[in-house]
């Protein structure tokens, strides 16, 4: 079982380290690449949590779509290869203080509530149940007793976002 912990540490390290680069790297293109690495690390954590389906979705949506959108936006909004402007605004020290302190507070709460006794290990769910999650999920998404309304609302939201972003970004003639 030490293997699992080892993998967890590697993945957490990748996620947090590349997350650090996302918020600090002055070269925005490199920050976007680091962000992809973060997404990959998070996908790895999903695999560790026995949800290969979500890992694949993460790959498809975040790396395959959102990252590419962001890279396109970076390339379209700056002069190519120019990275001279400072990365931070004037209140970055305050931001650092706020996030460090509230982060420490949250970690303290987590350790107090969950660290000592609760959920020290995953429940022993059989592989059949875990593999069946995708099937049940598919049924839930279209069944009137469960999630069909959120599902439809999500599709309307996507349609609205699609049309809206085209209208906003279109150059006026």
């Amino acid at each position: 079982m030490y293997i699992e912990q080892f993998v967890f540490f590697i993945l957490a390290l990748i996620t947090l380290l590349s997350g650090w680069f996302v918020v600090t790297d002055r070269n925005l293109f490199h920050a976007a690449l680091a962000m992809m690495l973060t997404f990959l690390g998070v996908a790895g954590l999903y695999v560790l949590l026995d949800s290969g389906f979500l890992a694949a979705t993460q790959l498809l949506v975040y790396i395959g779509a959102i990252s590419i959108l962001i890279i396109f936006a970076i390339m379209m909004t700056r002069r190519l290869m120019k990275t001279t402007e400072p990365a931070y605004n004037s209140m970055w020290q305050g931001a650092l203080l706020i996030s460090v302190f509230s982060g420490a507070g949250l970690v303290y709460v987590i350790v107090q509530v969950f660290g000592m006794s609760n959920y020290l290990q995953k429940p022993d769910t059989s592989d059949a149940v875990l593999n069946g999650t995708v099937v049940t999920l598919g049924e839930w998404l279209v069944s009137a007793d469960h999630l069909v309304i959120p599902f439809e609302v999500a599709s309307v939201l996507l349609l609205a976002a699609l049309i809206g972003s085209i209208v906003i970004a279109r150059a006026e003639k």
Binding site: Q5, L16, A31, L49, L69, N89, P123, A154, L162, I166
Partner: protein, 102 residues
């Protein structure tokens, strides 16, 4: 044996990295990237709780799917706004977009 709290701590750290990015970055695209980090941190939490508390029901997974949907919509509209602002103001630095102040 990985306790649930480890995942929560990683997610918390990632979330506050995102908070820091949103507050401190100048470039609007970089702020959007930090928001994506925060959404990912939330997703880690949801999946971890799903796996540790109720793995029989796919509600946690469905929740993450909806978060992904919202994230995709947010990224599309946000970046469209950024590009539109860049067209009219020739800048995507959030501090400089302050004409509503005056």
């Amino acid at each position: 044996m990985i306790p649930l709290s480890w995942y929560l701590v990683v997610a918390a750290a990632l979330f506050f990295l995102g908070v820091y990015g949103v507050l401190a970055r100048r470039n609007a695209v970089a702020m959007l990237m930090a928001v994506e980090l925060m959404l990912n941190a939330v997703n880690i939490n949801i999946v971890a709780f799903w796996r540790y508390v109720s793995p029989e029901e796919p509600l946690g997974v469905a929740w993450v799917l909806f978060v992904l949907t919202v994230a995709a919509a947010e990224a599309a509209v946000g970046l469209a706004l950024v590009i539109s602002v860049y067209r009219s103001r020739d800048s995507v630095v959030a501090e400089e977009l302050d004409s509503l102040k005056y």
